[in-house]
Symmetry: none
Amino acid sequence: MKILIADDHALFRQGLLYTLQSLGDDVEVMEASNAKEVLDYVEQYTDLDLVLMDLDMPGIDGYSGLLKLRESHPELPVAIVTASEYEADMLRIIDSGASGYIPKSLTSSEMLDALKQILDGEIFVPDLSATSGTFQIRQITGSGPLLASLDKSEAAAEIKSRLTPRQLDVLKLMCEGMSNKVIAHSLGMAEGTVKIHVTAILKELNATNRTQAVIMAKEIGFISA
Amino acid sequence: MKILIADDHALFRQGLLYTLQSLGDDVEVMEASNAKEVLDYVEQYTDLDLVLMDLDMPGIDGYSGLLKLRESHPELPVAIVTASEYEADMLRIIDSGASGYIPKSLTSSEMLDALKQILDGEIFVPDLSATSGTFQIRQITGSGPLLASLDKSEAAAEIKSRLTPRQLDVLKLMCEGMSNKVIAHSLGMAEGTVKIHVTAILKELNATNRTQAVIMAKEIGFISA
DNA sequence: CATCCGCTATCAATATTTTCATTGGTGTAT
DNA sequence: ATACACCAATGAAAATATTGATAGCGGATG
């Protein structure tokens, strides 16, 4: 198992290196301190299993590096490691074909879980939400009277019972602000299938567009889980 | 010798921890993941020899933490560790009484040299001119990193100040799940005008679609008013 | 037991609407 | 002068609706 880590901060590389050892004895870690080195490496070593690249590096930045890698080596998993935790960044990066968006604020064990997930072929995205701040049952134009007349937990149970498991998966990602394309990529299904689920969700929730559906889901509070 | 390191990135702490061991056997390292923990630590442990504090942390940022430490414990050496390499930052920080300005891009050995220098009572500043290759004027895209470092109410004020009154009107209705057409009708303007406002809002909030913008606005909590 | 039926999940493909980006122009305050 | 609000209009992308087809899975029926 060969993993290439790219970060301009030597000490962070060192911490990551140390953590990566826990993945197993057959893990070989290589280091790069900028994106250009990464591009050179992937030419030279064709047996890489994963590239972990910092977003913020001198010279070619990680995002440009990601785009170039996706173009030249589409099958090589590339995960972006970053100090930023903007959902917008995350979406942009996942949308560009990265296998994961890994905040530097993760603990070692969280980082390991994320990496295992990525090495399993899944896409890792952190749970940036967890805010759960503002609730109020508000009348949504066109929303049925059902939701307004139930309290939160009842409504949440109502919804969960009416939506299929797969629909719940999709709704959860909708609540992260993801586009159909990103959701499809994230859940490993075709974009068309996502659309079918979205349509079904809108119908069940009696919403006329995705934003309304997300608002309802968030206000009811069943997405925070 | 007791050293407290404060950084919200666990892996960086780990790398730094490892490096600090090389300073000698009698080095005891403590960790904090935010500035508040630092302030608590220094109250509890009065025999600290050095604090290494990241500039960019959630909650109280490193600079504020530095100022507070200089006030409460003027004799305790505090060095700032940072991902940024701006001369302006450096001057501000050294001027505020820090014992050093340590770029995260330093190698382990450079870091050790810097720390030794600081422990000797000197003030460490990097040679920024040497790393001129690294010198990129980072463009802050529109919104910038501001929101991450502010708490909700501050962020709400931030947003409100950056959006025009009419944009706020539109955003409010977006948060109700209305389509552009309905918003236009509702505010008595053309649909095209709504689109322009929406585009401007997305840009300001650094969002890639309307659902994201609504999520952000709701999470920050400024729409409830 | 086999078959039929209903539910779910998947993909493909089409058509329409909505959303988003951009450019250019007008008026209006400060 | 500069920022704001507004409109028109274009093009591209995303979202929504719909139809058709395949496949697995569980229950019901014969």
